[in-house]
Symmetry: C2
Subunit: 195 residues, 2 copies
Amino acid sequence: MWRSHLARSLHQHRNQPEAKFLQLATVGLDQRPRNRTVVFRGFLENGDRLQTPLQDCLKFVTDLRSQKPAQIAANPWAESSWYFTKTRSQFRILGKLQLIDHEYPNQELQSARIETWQALSDPARIQFSWPHPRESRIHFPKTEPPDAELPLDSFCLLLLEPIEVDRLELRGNPQNRWIYLRDDQGNWTEQEVNP
Amino acid sequence: MWRSHLARSLHQHRNQPEAKFLQLATVGLDQRPRNRTVVFRGFLENGDRLQTPLQDCLKFVTDLRSQKPAQIAANPWAESSWYFTKTRSQFRILGKLQLIDHEYPNQELQSARIETWQALSDPARIQFSWPHPRESRIHFPKTEPPDAELPLDSFCLLLLEPIEVDRLELRGNPQNRWIYLRDDQGNWTEQEVNP
């Protein structure tokens, strides 16, 4: 299925950190699309064991003070566009976002949030202690890196649970393209389509 | 202004074709965001001389049979996210899309459409002669490249006219970020904000 193809692209780009950058689009409160580059933090493990199972979730991190939380509350849909330069493969991943903030009640997902924090580098963690994003620039006081064990309240885990994946392989003439759809039972179907 | 910074990033990546790939988000008819990788085809020239002037328009191409035309008719807003790996710069470019199809009445923009077609490579042009995109895969008959002078009817020029640009420079600790806004008179203002 699409996960094995994505795994292959990730493997072939394992020495290129930028292959972990993808673009995540949401809809703003003004109904305009918003799009930004995010870092892929791996897949959520054991999501299928949750009381409300989650499947194939991509992990990102975000700041509670960014614009995403309000956008997600109003419209949880998102689409990632992920392009791999060496394999010339594009994965468009449509799904719903779930924001795991410091008050999120589910214990397993709260643990996943804390583990994701612990796996960050100091420079990544320190960003969550910076002054409010997108406000007028102020002087940033020099601060020590925050506690590596316990996340700051501004730190959120962001999950994208895919329901549709559009895979395009630019190599080949003509190119090759597949649409993967998830049904209500969580099963994926695959259809080859014209590029 | 932001154009000079973008020009610098483009120059520093001039030998990396993938630096011309950016992600373009729109809103689907179902109010879900849609996001795909597109190729930057340069800026529209002399847009300010049109009867209804256009400013700083980014050029893309698209197929009339893709999903974008209907999406744009319902909601013309789009945001591009463009990440440059060497300079570690991100440009988020919000604006309105304008689709220049084969029936578009304005003569200057129709000429721009034709010139953009003529500047494409044969492999890029031939895609517009392929069977209907996203339908069940069929055998593609071998065809000659289409006329290099006269565009096929499926070929559209797509313009993105920016009104807001969010520039993030990841280099530096802390990082640096600016918001550029266009007012009704077409003048850009710049504000430095917290990253």
